[in-house]
């Protein structure tokens, strides 16, 4: 809750003014029937046209004033709710920037996008309803009650009977309705998920002739949704007649008791007429609440989903860090490091020493946790046990930015962004000159294909580079990483789509031009690592062996097996 209130900073005035304006609007508009009763009670019996004009004028003036306040309230509420949503969106976006990889893994990309878009819009609408209708309805009710009491206290006793019934109905609907609507929403979500699955997997469905199977699965999910929908909606629509019943009964009682009082001379005709108006107003305010109830319940889900993002604690934080230090060199040490991911042990007791400037290869079967190992270096994840050191210091001693600026990593899943090639490269170093960019691209063997494009470095990359081949994307990503001038460069299977000749040219360029950078290469191809200073063989989360190509070839069976399957039979 506090998180949401933070978003109102700068909009408090509007948030408060909007209901105040609504209060004034309601107060003024509710005076109108009272003035009307004067026309009936004094102007008509005295047959005084001037008095009618006077009271008519007063009513119009009240309506105009009320209109002004109404327009102001609409305006303030708009500013407040749009501002709220805008801040909330920014807050979410900033929160997302704090997220560690572990946090990001917990939410799927699609769900995060929904939370920042649709859910924010829903909360904006809900907020708007809250500051307008949620205030308007009670004000209206209270003012109408005050006016009614003023006109005739004894008639108001009718409401002592009516109001509790109305309140109890409302409470029952809310208490019973909320879980039913939540259930409905959950069913709705899973139904949509299954449509989504069928859209992306239509080829599998068709290849296995599972159209009927999927349809029957869907039909039963849809029928489930239908049933929960009936259960939820029935409750709400049943409440409406109850409201009308109570109000109509009150109307009849007022007519009867009021009529008798008029006959006995204790009340005037005009008073009874305005009384009727007030009853209608009370009914109207209740209907308003009933109408927005469903939308508010629906928005609860959005509030909750946004709340999940806002309350998510970043699993990697700067709090033990010394903000002034940065890695001095590219030494990397692993001291008895273990790492578990979602309760599953991934790395076990890893000990490594990589001197600054070395080129290191990491090789091992799928699922041997090669990526997890290197991701501990820039603290994309934190080790569960043991200590990872960069430049001789525990990585947790560095603030994240200096650490990550010193460690450049080319991820397995390469992402480029909409924009020109140059703009993408500038991610590495916003201040890079054209020469620096070209040098990095030459080292990454990307210069040649970039300059072959008609627009060269200003070629626009659509949707993260769909117009590039896999190998070209990988080389751009390497160039982008080089521009960071890192002390440690990690290539996580980053040349898999690059041909072997180019691959080896990249490595020799790295060696000759960036010899001071510690380079860690994860690869499937032995050829990509065989000239490394040391090669680490990882198997099932444990370091199985380290050594040079020749050493490993002699003594390590896994390594030899891989080598033989790839290289020996290759030529």
């Amino acid at each position: 809750m506090k998180k949401y209130l933070d978003c109102l900073k700068g909009y408090w005035v509007y948030t408060i003014l909007a209901p105040v304006m609504i209060m004034l609007e309601v107060a003024l508009e509710l005076l109108i029937p009272r003035v009307m009763s004067r026309i009936i009670d004094s102007a008509i019996p005295s047959r005084d046209m001037a008095l009618i004009l006077k009271f008519g004028g007063i009513m119009i003036a009240l309506a105009l004033l009320s209109l002004v306040f109404g327009v102001l309230s609409g305006r303030f509420a708009s500013i407040a709710s749009v501002g709220f949503a805008s801040r909330l969106r920014t807050k979410l976006f900033c929160k997302l920037q704090e997220f560690s990889f572990a946090n990001l893994d917990r939410f799927s990309t699609a769900s995060l996008v929904t939370r920042l878009t649709t859910d924010v819009t829903n909360t904006q609408n809900a907020f708007m309803m809250m500051i307008r209708i949620m205030f308007r309805a009670p004000f209206m009710m209270i003012f109408a009650c005050i006016m009614a009491v003023q006109i005739n206290r004894s008639l108001f006793r009718i409401f002592y009977a009516a109001l509790p019934i109305l309140l109890v109905t409302a409470v029952i609907v809310i208490i019973k309705g909320y879980p039913r609507f939540m259930q409905m929403l959950n069913r709705y979500d899973s139904l949509n998920a299954s449509v989504q699955e069928n859209l992306t997997g239509i080829r599998v469905v068709k290849a296995y002739v599972r159209e009927d199977y999927e349809t029957s699965k869907f039909a039963s999910a849809s029928a489930d949704l239908r049933d929960t929908m009936i259960r939820a909606e029935k409750l709400v629509v049943s409440a409406m007649p109850v409201l009308t019943l109570v109000m109509n009964a009150s109307l009849i009682a007022v007519s009867w008791l009021g009529g008798r009082q008029i006959i006995a001379g204790n009340m005037t005709v005009g008073e009874l007429m305005s009384y009727n108006s007030y009853i209608m107003q009370i009914l109207l305010s209740l209907l308003m609440v009933a109408m927005i109830f469903v939308s508010l319940v629906l928005s609860r889900a959005s509030f909750r989903r946004i709340g999940q993002v806002l309350t998510e604690e970043s699993t990697v934080s700067d709090k033990d860090a010394d903000p002034d230090i940065a890695p001095e060199d590219g030494t990397v040490d692993f001291e008895h490091v273990s790492f578990s991911y979602a309760q599953t042990p991934v790395l076990r007791d890893v000990c490594l020493h990589i001197p600054s400037g070395q080129m290191v290869g990491i090789i091992g079967p799928t699922g041997s946790s090669k990526s997890s190992l290197v991701q501990l270096i820039p603290r994309l994840y934190d080790a569960t046990e043991g200590c990872v050191r960069v430049g001789g210091q525990d990585v947790r001693r560095y603030a994240l930015h200096p650490l990550r600026n010193a460690v450049a990593m080319v991820l397995q899943k390469n992402v480029l962004f909409s924009g020109t090639i140059r703009e993408n490269l500038l991610w590495g170093d916003p201040g890079a000159t054209d020469e620096e960019i070209a040098a990095a691209c030459r080292a990454a063997q990307a210069d040649e294909f970039i300059t072959s494009f008609p627009e060269g470095y200003d070629t626009y990359l659509e949707q993260g580079g769909v117009n590039l081949s896999g190998g070209q994307k990988q080389r751009l990503c390497i160039a982008r990483a080089l521009l960071k001038h890192p002390r440690i460069l990690i290539l996580d299977d980053s040349t898999s789509a690059v041909d072997t000749a180019t691959d080896s040219r990249i490595r020799s360029a790295l060696r000759s031009q960036h010899g001071d950078i510690t380079t860690i290469v994860i690869a499937q191809r032995i050829a990509s690592v065989q000239d490394a200073d040391q090669i680490i063989v990882l198997d099932d989360g444990e370091v199985q062996d380290t050594g040079t190509h020749e050493q490993l070839l002699q003594r390590n069976t896994i390594y030899r097996e891989m080598y033989e399957s790839q290289v020996k039979e290759g030529c």
Binding site: M36, G83, K206, I263, V269, Q566
Partner: protein, 631 residues
Amino acid sequence: MQGRRMKNRGPVQKPKNLKGTVRRLYVYLKPYRFRLLLVVIGVMLTSLASVTGTAFLRPIFNNHIVPLIGQKSPDLSGFIRLLILLACVYAVGILSNFLYSRQMVRITANVLDRIRTDLFRHMETLPIRYFDTHTNGDLMSRYTNDIDSLREMISRGIPQLISSLITVTGVFFVMVFMSPLLTIMILSMLGLMILIVRVIGGKSGKFFMERQKQIGSVNGFIEEMITGQKVVKVFCHEEQSIADFEALNTKLCQADTSANIFANILMPIIGNLSHMNYALTAAAGGALVIAGLLDIGTIASFLQYSRTFTQPITQSSQQINSILLALAGAERIFEMMDEDSEVDEGYVSLVNASTDADGAIRESDTYTGRWAWRHPHSATGDVTYTPLEGDVRFYDVTFGYNENKAVLHDISLYAKPGQKIAFVGATGAGKTTISNLINRFYDVPDGKIRYDGININKIRKADLRRSLAMVLQDTQLFTGTVRDNIRYGKLDATDEEIVRAAKLANAHGFIMRLPDGYDTMLTTNGANLSQGQRQLLAIARAAVANAPVLILDEATSSIDTHTEKQIERGMDKLMHGRTTFVIAHRLSTVRNADAIMVLEQGRIIERGDHSDLIAQHGKYYELYTGALELS
């Protein structure tokens, strides 16, 4: 920059074929037509009761209150009778409201359920080509946005419209009957209100367009940044992306505020205009009473009518708009339902077979473990049986996804039962297209592809596909347990068969390490598994299907060579005795194929087995030695 995202977010889209859409919708409502009639009657009764109830105010004041004022012992029996009558009218209204709204909830839920299920059922029959030409988001929105607005329309929009019509007509006649003069005044006030609503509505349109544009660019930015969030972190680009976001968000905030202000001041304006209407009615009514043209009771009724009459009319444009919006959605739903299903004129079917003593094939009702093609000949009325063996031949196949651009040129090849055929080539060379033709995701002209000697266009698609097991490039898993996902290949597979298939694909080991083993739930396409593990499951799924022909489309691209080596034995077992088509990125996997086809721009440029091709020193040789980049 993110213009592409805005396609579906234009201003109110009006249905193109209103009449047709309504007629189609009626088909769904028809089973409930009797109950719908009751609903309409219920809505009418409810509105009429409320109109009549207000009309009672006049006799109450005129006949039972005003004349009795000051009487010592007034005769209240008429008053009581009138109030009882009023109570009855109200009771009718409430009861019909209660009944019709509950009915309406049921009808709406059932109609939506049927539309949704029909839509899905039809979607499953659509050809692959349809999914190629429509984005998932576009199709998805028919299940979400379009069905939602349809629900809004059926459950609320239409009853409200009927109720408004009845109320407005009823009130109009009662008003004219009671006082034509006051009616004229209220009508002219109404004219003014409509005018104001129009003017404001027209002005706001421009702001709403601007807002949609800004929403589009903010959402596009969010989507891109979230997709690339890990890269943002690795490059410490957080502050920059926040700054970029702020700039876009501020623009949206401005546009959104202007648009919202217009939308939000409309309600108070209309509300207060109706108060003015009330005031004018009271004043003019008072004047008329003084002039002797009106009585007090009529004013009492008119004061209530001034609201009930104008409210539905001022809201009507909104209501009609939302109905049109829903109909446009319905139209999109029906459009999808009208898309042509995959045509299947196949009549050759797959049956269980057994062999007679004299060697002839007989159809069997029970599972025999052997299959045959049942081929009825319409000309002679004979039925012949061909054993299912897995012999696939292409004769000069030329094919393009659209007519003017051929993707494959003159492809001829044969795969004898049990042979392994590999396709090698760059992305876009047409490898996957060939496999898409074998299982008839796309159709080629008659006689170009034969399966066990039968023109595949004559084979029923379901039976053809049942005889082919596929492992596709993009592994798709479904929400459900690991076991369910493997069982997808053969719905009646026993647990033993599943374990055997998993072991064959080398997936058993990692499955047993999962928290719940085979009962581990997979969510969102197996997000809790690695890409390699997902592929192993897809291979197990194909293994359990036990089909004579196997198509492996980049099935092992995310499995490292070491693991691949381990699966290889399983794969060899899986491929044994099966005709296999392998599409591979990595050449080590195709080495032992009986024939390797090297494709380039839709043509087979080299063919032969591994040693032939190496000896040729052509493209394959270059690829194999790593001198060429494949991507």
